[in-house]
Amino acid sequence: MIDIFFASLILITFFSMSIYSFFYEKKDFLYLFIISLIILPIIKINFYASLLSILFLLTPVFLLKKIDYTQLTFFCMYGSILMAYFLLEFFLAYELPYIFWIAIATVILICVLGIMGIFEDDLKKYLVYSNAIQLAFVLLDLSVAKIAGKISTLGTVQIFNYTFAGLLLFITLGILSEDNKMKKISSLYGSYYRDKYNSIFSIVSALSLAGLPGLNIFVSEWYLFKTSFMINLTITIFGVFAALLLFVMYFKIANILLVGDGKPLKRNIKPLVYLNGIFAIICVLFGLLPQIQIYILNMVL
């Protein structure tokens, strides 16, 4: 069931990125298709093969200027999903020493990346920081679940929610920045007056990633902090500080999109608006009715 769950997440990413690349970077569709074909069997063969995701995660770090926006998106998203799959299988299969210290180091890393993200104006770098933070949350969830003695919902909840909210953020910011033609976040000011729907969806995803109650990522953070509170206060205290930093980091997107002068209206690409709308509804629905996602996730493990 775990294989099917992660394969579904990859297919959701493939489907949504295909639509995006069809309208913005047609040549990337071929790369996307080949990479998806390689990835899907990997999940079935052996979970160690999913360590390949390190390559996906490191590519945007070292070749940030060479890859385009669509490639950045699918390297980050595929890398995160595959790495989450590897970590889940690894934590299920082995007993790890120093797991508490791994959790502490991870939550401090989230704080450091959050501080870097707050002051980052380059859109691509900001998204790489955001992706790294969410992946660190996956590791933190698994560490805390392992210390608590049961990996059930906590093992999958973060990556499940991040797939929807993360994809929504990548796609909407891609549309608003015209496929990264506007390279700075600050150049997106006043986008709400140019492209209302995509800006609203982008704000929904940013606030969801910030962990605002009522949106889907809050559910995973709630489970994480509830469990960590019972283990050791330190993780919870650092976690609350990290949540505060992340709120500032992601709220800057909401702020910059809403503030600014009137600009000429932009013609919307309807299929992408519908796709973003569906993702935004999922983020709100899973946030307001967490029972739905808990029901889905309980079937996985």
Binding site: I104, I115, F238, F241, L258, V259, G260, D261, G262
Partner: protein, 69 residues
Amino acid sequence: MCFIWFIATDSNLHIKHGVVMKEKKSTYMGGEKDEQRIVIPKQIEKFFNKRILFLILLIILLLLIPLLV
């Protein structure tokens, strides 16, 4: 802080029926004169900068060492 900043940096253009009529003088709450279309306004960045945040993180770490050991 972000909320105040949001109010303070509201549109400085007078817009009627989607047409820019005239540019009004900026009325930022803190009396800032610098460009406000930036991610972190300079007035805030003076206090709320990377160094201070890292310092706070270090202080939290030092305070929590007794709980860790």
